[in-house]
C-alpha cells in the first residue's frame, strides 16, 4: 500500500532521515519505533507532505506522492495525527470532525456562498456522517463542547476520528498513547482493531513497547535516521542493536 524507497531528509548539515525504505501492507498495523530524535516524526512529516524528501520516493497505492502538499496527500487517502495534539481548539467536537471530512465534500465556494440545494444536501450528509463518527469513539455526548476543553485522552480520540472522517486508506498515528495510563492504553488497543475493520491501514509511531508488541504486525526501528532493524515484533524486540539503542537492558 505505502512504500518508501531511500527517503533522505536533511536539515542544513544534519541528516535527519537517511535512505529509509519501508513497506506498509494493506490491512496491517505497522509500527515505527526508535530512540528520541531518531527521525521518526520527520519521516512521518515527509510521508504526509510537510517536508519534501531530498532523495528517494514515496509511493502510495502505486503512485508517487513525494513533494505533494499536505492537503493533496490527504486527498489521495492518507490521514494523520500529531505528536503534539493539533486540534482546532475553539471549534466543537462536531465541527472538528466536519473539517476532517473536508476533502470528501464537493461543494465549492460559489455553491457555499449561494447556499445551493446541492450544498444543502451535502451539509445534511455531513451532519449524519459526523454523528456516526462520534459514536465510533464514544464522543456523541460531547458534540457541542469545545475541543480544547476535552480531557487529554478524549482529545487524542478526537484527533484520530477526525483523521478517519476524511475516509483515508491509511492513517499515520504519531505516539497516540503518549500520556495515557495503562487502562486507557488497553482500550486503545481495541480501538485500533476496530479501525482496521473499517479497512483502514495503520502506520504508527509508539514508544510503548507493550502496545507495539501487542498490536503490530510488522515493526521498523530507526536510529539516527537510518533503519536499524525490521521484522515481526518478536524479532525486532530481541534484536541486539535495538536493545542497546532503544530498549535498554533489564535492570
Amino acid at each position: 500500500m505505502l512504500k518508501t524507497e531511500g527517503v533522505t531528509i536533511r536539515f542544513g548539515g544534519l541528516v535527519a532521515v537517511n535512505k529509509v525504505s519501508i513497506h506498509v501492507r494493506k490491512g496491517q498495523i505497522t509500527g515505527l519505533i526508535g530512540p528520541n530524535g531518531a527521525g521518526k516524526t520527520t519521516f512521518f512529516n515527509c510521508i504526509s507532505g510537510v517536508y519534501t524528501p531530498a532523495e528517494g520516493s514515496v509511493i502510495f497505492d502505486g503512485k508517487h506522492v513525494e513533494g505533494l502538499k499536505p492537503h493533496k496527500i490527504n486527498e489521495v487517502g492518507m490521514a494523520r495525527t500529531y505528536q503534539v495534539i493539533n486540534l482546532f481548539r475553539q471549534m466543537t467536537v462536531q465541527e472538528n470532525i466536519m473539517v476532517g471530512m473536508h476533502t470528501r465534500l464537493k461543494s465549492n465556494f460559489w455553491s457555499d456562498m449561494l447556499h445551493l440545494p446541492s450544498e444543502r444536501k451535502e451539509e445534511k450528509f455531513v451532519r449524519e456522517e459526523t454523528e456516526k463518527w462520534m459514536e465510533f469513539v464514544g464522543l456523541q455526548d460531547m458534540a457541542n463542547q469545545q475541543a480544547g476543553s476535552l480531557s487529554y485522552g478524549k482529545q487524542r480520540l478526537l484527533e484520530i476520528v477526525r483523521g478517519l472522517a476524511s475516509g483515508p486508506k491509511l492513517i499515520l498515528l504519531d505516539e497516540p498513547v503518549a500520556g495515557m495510563n495503562s487502562k486507557e492504553k488497553e482500550e486503545f488497543d481495541a480501538l485500533l482493531r476496530r479501525i482496521l475493520d473499517l479497512d483502514v491501514t495503520i502506520l504508527m509511531i509508539e514508544h510503548d513497547m507493550k502496545l507495539v508488541m501487542g498490536v503490530c504486525d510488522y515493526v521498523y526501528c530507526l536510529e539516527h535516521g537510518t533503519l536499524l532493524a525490521e521484522g515481526v515484533p518478536e524479532v525486532v524486540q530481541n534484536h541486539p542493536d535495538v536493545i542497546a539503542a532503544y530498549l535498554g537492558g533489564d535492570e
Partner: protein
C-alpha cells in the same frame, strides 16, 4: 517532623470549571512522592498551582511550603523559595543554547562563582548535554530536552523539585535513565514530587504515592502497598 510541602483543602477553578476539588497532601523533607491518576484528574493543575504558574484567581485553600503559605505567589517568587518545577512537555527555551538554558535556570543565584562548578556537576550527570552545549534547545531530541529541563531546575539548587510526567514521549531506554537520575537527585537530599502516567515505574521509584481521580485524592499510601492494591492494579497497572 513538619512536612516540607503541604496542601490543605486545596481547590482550583478554571473559570467556572472546578478541576481540583479539595485535596490534602503532604511531602516530607527528603521524601520522594508520586501522584498518579487518569488523564484530566488535575495532577498538572495541582503542580502548576503549587509553583504559582496558574492564574491565582482560581486558587482556594492553603499551600504551605517550608512553613510559609505560598498560595497566590507568583512563579518567580515560589522559585526563589527553592521550589522548582520541571514542566509537562519540557518547555525548554527553543532559541537559546543548551548552556544558555542552564544558565537561565541559575537566574536567581547570586553566587556567580559557584555556578560554573554546578554546571560541571550537571554535565557530569548528563554527559549528553555537555556534548550539545552550543546546540539550540529546540533542536534537541525529546529525551535530551527532558534532561535539559531537569538540569535547568537542578542548577537552582532547589530544596524541592516537582516533575510533571518526566517520561512523556521518551524511549524506554531514556525513561530508565531519567528515573535513575531522579533517584540520584533524591538521594542527594532533594525532596521530589512527581506526576507520572507510567504508574508502574512511578510506584517502583517513589516512597509514597497519591492516586488522583477527577480532582480528588482517591487513595494514598506507601508505594509498596499501592503496588499490590487490587483497585490500583486494575485501574492503573493494567492487569
Amino acid at each position: 517532623m513538619a512536612p516540607l510541602l503541604e496542601l490543605q483543602d486545596f481547590h482550583y477553578y478554571y473559570g467556572n470549571i472546578h478541576t481540583v476539588k479539595g485535596i490534602n497532601m503532604q511531602v516530607n523533607e527528603g521524601e520522594m512522592v508520586t501522584i498518579i491518576g487518569a488523564n484530566g484528574a488535575g495532577k498538572t493543575t495541582t503542580l502548576q498551582t503549587i509553583s504559582g504558574l496558574t492564574n491565582s484567581k482560581g486558587v482556594r485553600g492553603k499551600i504551605i511550603f517550608d512553613g510559609k503559605e505560598i498560595q497566590g505567589f507568583h512563579g518567580h517568587k515560589v522559585a526563589s523559595l527553592g521550589l522548582c518545577q520541571v514542566l509537562e512537555g519540557r518547555h525548554v527555551f527553543s532559541k537559546l543554547t543548551v548552556e544558555e538554558n542552564l544558565l537561565t535556570g541559575a537566574y536567581l543565584r547570586k553566587d556567580t562563582k559557584n555556578i560554573k562548578e554546578d554546571l560541571k556537576g550537571i554535565y557530569k550527570r548528563f554527559p549528553r548535554l555537555e556534548e550539545r552545549r552550543t546546540q539550540l534547545g529546540g533542536t534537541l531530541s525529546g529525551g535530551e530536552q527532558q534532561m535539559l529541563a531537569i538540569g535547568r531546575a537542578l542548577i537552582n539548587k532547589p530544596k524541592m523539585i516537582l516533575l510533571d510526567e518526566p517520561s512523556l514521549g521518551l524511549a524506554p531506554v531514556i525513561v530508565k535513565e531519567v528515573f535513575k537520575a531522579i533517584r540520584e537527585i533524591n538521594s542527594e537530599g532533594v525532596t521530589v514530587l512527581f506526576v507520572e502516567q507510567n504508574s508502574k515505574i512511578a510506584l517502583n521509584t517513589a516512597h509514597r504515592g497519591y492516586v488522583m481521580q477527577v480532582g480528588e485524592v482517591a487513595m494514598e499510601g506507601f508505594c509498596k502497598d499501592l503496588l499490590v492494591d487490587e483497585e490500583v492494579k486494575k485501574a492503573y497497572l493494567g492487569g
